[in-house]
Subunit: 190 residues, 2 copies
Amino acid sequence: MEKIELEPGRVPYPMPCSLVGANVAGKPNYLAIAWFTMANPSPPHVLVVMNKVHYTNRGVKENGTFSINIPSAELAERMDYCGLVTGHKTDKSEVFETFYGRLQTAPMIKDCACNVECRLVQTVDLLKEELFIGEIMAVYSEERYLTEGVPDLRKINPILLLQSERRYAAIGADIGPAWEMGERWKRSET
Amino acid sequence: MEKIELEPGRVPYPMPCSLVGANVAGKPNYLAIAWFTMANPSPPHVLVVMNKVHYTNRGVKENGTFSINIPSAELAERMDYCGLVTGHKTDKSEVFETFYGRLQTAPMIKDCACNVECRLVQTVDLLKEELFIGEIMAVYSEERYLTEGVPDLRKINPILLLQSERRYAAIGADIGPAWEMGERWKRSET
């Protein structure tokens, strides 16, 4: 079939949903974001992309700390709420139960399956957005989400954002083993 | 249940799989990566995180262009292969059929459901990785992957990487409407 050229737009891919936490004016604030990725494997760093209009950005810069909280599907409504209202106008400190870890100033969400506590190491300015690169200082979870001590995505049941479709979706059918399926293809070719 | 502190490690989330394309030494080369995200909505920019050891990095910097290609599940074996072997040792130019778009120097994969053609605008050095920020110059797809002219993730059927589990997975069950579910929660609280 023929390729069609479309207008430059977003990359169509399912984005991992999270809640970024930071203390602003002495109170926890949580922002729903789906634009984040790992930035370095070891020592582990993560990168979040946040529009400059957000209230949470102020807290990330003031404290030099932030958290990434991974909600399970049953928290989808409350996560979505944290993307609909801004901390500039609405106090979101009571939407979830907050706890603090080693860094003391990065609020984390007790109800979330997994919490990632970060120290800000670099800020990159990009047009309407700020990229915050954080070193991961600790990860928190609960026994029920772990398999052999490691967070298990099938137990966490995280939320994917299908942006153009304006829907959230869960992880689905297994496709196969990573770093292994390619060997099979190679053998079938030779 | 009690929170358990784990060693700092990767954020547990399903990562969107793609193939980054660049011309190196005059030949198309494709690298499987799952660390990318949007970097600016309008004009649209994307950000890819690539370990400095990769052969593809050289081509991105030499040409100042690259592509992001979104494979459907049926390309999982060939995508995985492009993550198992390096362009330093193996010619990957024949794994897929290549086409070029407006920028002329960013090779794209004809078999992929969607192709995103980028102009490199900024490189950020981060320890073992390089972050390439690209402006999206064009998006290519086929009629069968579109709904009302927009790429449709349910038709594309992309591949998620579950890193700790070392498995690939598809998108699954619908959870609900984004930018809407939060209103429902708000109403139930008041």
